[in-house]
């Protein structure tokens, strides 16, 4: 009977929690949060501010140990690879809603230089449906669609994140440098595969015999390889670029002739 008495204490009420969350392919849920400036609050930042750009988001907890341990990968591998691209922006979002000082400590420990947003837990609920997920990467395309939603810590899937960002940036380049805009006298194809390691094939087409050069540069403008230099016959050409010895990151390849200059980007991941 003692058991039954205890049971009677429980009020029979049953309901469920089904937090909404978005999936890859859905329109990204907008947000607006104060940013971290120094050790205090900075200007407000919203997703709409970056319309037309590829947005990378790192969901972290300001005092979450593995977020601090894994945070440097978002800076050294992801942000550093794309930070010079004006079509790219990275945001860190504190989902533990900790103080500006705690976020300043997080920034100091991780070495993150991109913008950190405060009190952003609501976005974690919007994107993941619960506050139990953090230390996650998300990529939003320039069209405002969720393109990538990480399911593990950021140190585990950063290569997939880089690939997703590169794909979105490539799509922008292709739409901006669509084929009809290329001069009739020559065309430069997107390298394949891309991203690559350690080699990739670059193809170009010449309408007539031309003196050309095909060179590879890093993001600082330093020439790292010359793939072709001299007079080439009209028609299609392909050359293999071997990046052994080079570090991971974005590189530019440039086809130059008397009739113009064509440039594309490629991504080396090691």
């Amino acid at each position: 009977m003692k058991t039954l008495k205890v049971l009677l204490l429980i009020i029979p009420l049953l309901s469920v929690t089904a937090f909404a969350q978005i999936a890859v392919g859905d329109t990204a849920i907008t947000f607006s949060y104060d940013s971290l400036s120094g050790n205090s609050t900075g200007e407000s930042v919203s997703l709409e501010d970056y319309a037309g750009k590829v947005v990378y988001i790192f969901f972290y907890g300001a005092s979450c140990p593995h977020c601090i341990s894994n945070g440097p990968v978002t800076e050294s591998q992801i942000y550093s690879s794309f930070k010079d691209d004006t079509n790219f922006v990275a945001l860190g979002m504190d989902t533990w809603n900790y103080t500006p000082s705690a976020n300043a400590a997080f920034r100091n420990s991780t070495g993150i230089t991109y913008t950190l947003l405060l009190n952003a837990q609501q976005s974690l609920i919007d994107y993941y449906g619960g506050s139990g997920y953090y230390d996650r990467s998300v990529v939003i395309g320039a069209d405002g669609i969720l393109k990538y939603k990480g399911t593990s810590y950021v140190n585990s899937d950063y290569e997939q994140v880089i690939e997703a960002i590169q794909t979105e940036l490539d799509a922008l380049i292709i739409s901006a440098e669509s084929e009809p805009d290329q001069p009739e006298s020559m065309k430069l194809q997107q390298n394949y595969p891309n991203p690559f390691n350690p080699s990739t094939v670059i193809s170009y087409k010449l309408a007539e015999n031309s003196r050309i050069s095909l060179k590879v540069f890093d993001m600082l403008g330093r020439e790292v390889a010359t793939l072709a230099n001299g007079i080439k016959a009209a028609g299609s050409h392909s050359v293999t670029f071997n990046a052994t010895g080079l570090s991971s990151g974005i590189y530019l390849y440039q086809l130059k002739s008397s009739s113009g200059l064509l440039t594309r980007k490629m991504m080396l991941i090691k």
Partner: protein, 502 residues
């Protein structure tokens, strides 16, 4: 619906049982909170949480069920769930379990489950409360004799960052594990073992396979050595580099008369499995002192190496001294080091008066804390075995490289006990740490010293029924219990806990 089926079945089982061997017992924890709900405009909230554990034993058969109930004025957070249920058969050699059970493979490098009795976890977003455990849901069969022990299991570990009312249910158990563990008792003093485990995670194609070797030996009188090496089967065996997935744990315990100690080594690489169902030994001193427990280092299995050395000596008269040294290094993409030196002394003046003191020096790169010094003294005085006083004073200070001033934390508690049933205590904490805040919704750094003041009444009606009442403001932060680390939320208000066993 299933909860009512369970309760009905349980009642029928009890009524139908006429055997004197049958036994029904259980426990209940009821918690009522009125207080602060951060992160929302509507911050005052009354909630109640109830956890009922029921056991039915009959000879070699037993049934178990746990019912949890959470009630707030906000319907979308409320739940009444049968969160655990288990059938078990056990004889001298075999044990069969179906439902929710607890099993740790080896030393937890591959799989660890746990239940911390009486603990209640609180979700950071909406403060939904639920039992803090990591059970396995599935089936397990074990066989043991004097020479060999075999365990087979197929189960889904709980991801306990989600409340029981999370839908769909599958979110709470994203991993499926198949495992077999075999231990060979070569002699009374030497045990060798091996584990094979296959893991599948929702949303990921294919499965991952892991193996493990473990040993445990009493080398000579007073000296034992033990260890485990676990690895991903796709990694080269005994290849201890950053590209491999492995976890290596080695340790030794020793004692000689009143002197004893331990030395342990860890080396974990790419070894956070699934949604996080493994917990290799952390090798971090788990302090009971609030300021130190809150300053703990949380294990990062993606990349962590370190050692822990401890020695103690027990003097005549009950006095003792303990020394501990701990290091942990994380280097996923940047090196972070944790180092701690700790000494603790206990001095018994007489049957009515004792002192305990400690001194701790540490650095913690992950938290950006340098030259962290913590010390404290606890005085325990009883009067004529009828009432007693305990005074606990603790202080902590540290540098953060980018902050101009040293941060300071204070802790003081005074407890009055009318032995053995009633305890009244007051706890006050203070901090100048700019990371701490009085107002969780603020985005402004608070620079003044912040205070937490709370009072507690604990009363035992008898050995089975007890009551705890807290009122005031409680400081949150990281905490570790039995090697499991989690985040305690700040609380301001009144909390009543009523515990019964029957």
């Amino acid at each position: 619906m299933r909860i009512f089926v369970f309760i009905s079945s349980f009642v029928l089982l009890v009524l139908a049982s006429t055997s004197v061997k049958a036994q029904v017992y259980g426990s209940n924890t009821f918690e009522l909170q009125y207080g602060n709900l951060p992160f929302e405009d509507d911050r005052e909230l009354t909630t109640s949480y109830d956890q009922l554990n029921l056991f039915y034993d009959h000879d070699k058969i037993s049934f178990y069920g746990r019912i949890e109930h959470f009630l707030t004025p906000k319907n979308d957070r409320n739940y009444l769930e049968l969160t655990q249920k288990r059938f078990q058969y056990q004889d001298d050699n075999f044990r069969v379990r179906v439902g929710n059970f607890y099993e740790t493979l080896g030393r937890g490098l591959l799989l660890r489950s746990y239940d911390i009795p009486g603990s209640v976890y609180e979700d950071a977003y909406d403060r939904t409360r639920y039992a803090f455990n990591r059970d396995l849901e599935g089936a397990a069969i074990g066989y043991t004799n004097n020479r060999i022990q075999i365990n087979l299991l197929r189960a889904k570990p709980l991801l306990n960052t989600f409340a029981p009312n999370t839908k769909p249910d599958s979110l709470r158990r994203p991993d499926l594990i198949d495992a077999v563990q075999t231990n060979f008792f070569l002699t009374e003093d030497i045990t060798l073992g091996g584990i094979f485990m296959r893991s599948q995670t929702d949303g990921f194609s294919g499965s991952r396979e892991f193996g493990s070797f473990l040993f445990d030996a009493n080398v000579i009188e007073g000296v034992s050595v033990f260890g485990e090496y676990a690895f991903n089967t796709t990694s080269k065996l005994f290849s201890f580099n950053a590209a491999s997935d492995y976890a290596l744990y080695l340790g030794t315990n020793f004692y000689y008369n009143s002197l004893g100690g331990s030395l342990e080594y860890k080396n974990y690489q790419n070894f956070r499995l699934g949604a996080g169902y493994n917990d290799p030994p952390s090798l971090i001193k788990e302090h009971t002192y609030p300021l130190l427990n809150r300053s703990t280092h949380v294990l990062e299995t993606s990349d962590e190496t370190g050692i822990q050395a401890e020695a103690y000596y027990n003097f005549e008269g009950g006095h003792s001294i303990t020394l501990n040294y701990t290091t942990a290094t994380n280097e996923v993409f940047k090196k972070f080091e944790y180092r701690e030196y700790f000494v603790e002394g206990y001095y018994v003046v007489d049957n009515f008066l004792s002192f305990k003191g400690f001194l701790d020096f540490a650095k913690d790169d992950l938290k950006g804390e340098e030259n962290r010094i913590t010390f404290g003294i606890i005085t325990d005085k009883t009067f004529d075995y009828t009432w007693g006083l305990a005074l606990d004073l603790q202080y902590q200070t540290f540098d953060r490289s980018f902050e101009p001033d040293r941060s300071q934390n204070y802790y003081a508690s005074l407890a009055f006990s009318y032995l053995p049933d009633l305890t009244l205590s007051v706890v006050v904490e203070a901090s100048s740490d700019p990371q701490e805040t009085d107002d969780p919704t603020t985005t402004v750094s608070e620079v003044d010293t912040r205070f937490w003041l709370g009072g507690n009444v604990a009363y035992k009606f008898n050995s089975d029924i007890s009551l705890d009442l807290f009122a005031g403001k409680r400081r949150g932060g990281p905490a570790c219990t039995s090697g499991i680390c989690y985040e305690i939320l700040d609380f301001e208000g009144v909390e009543l806990r009523f515990s019964t066993r029957f």
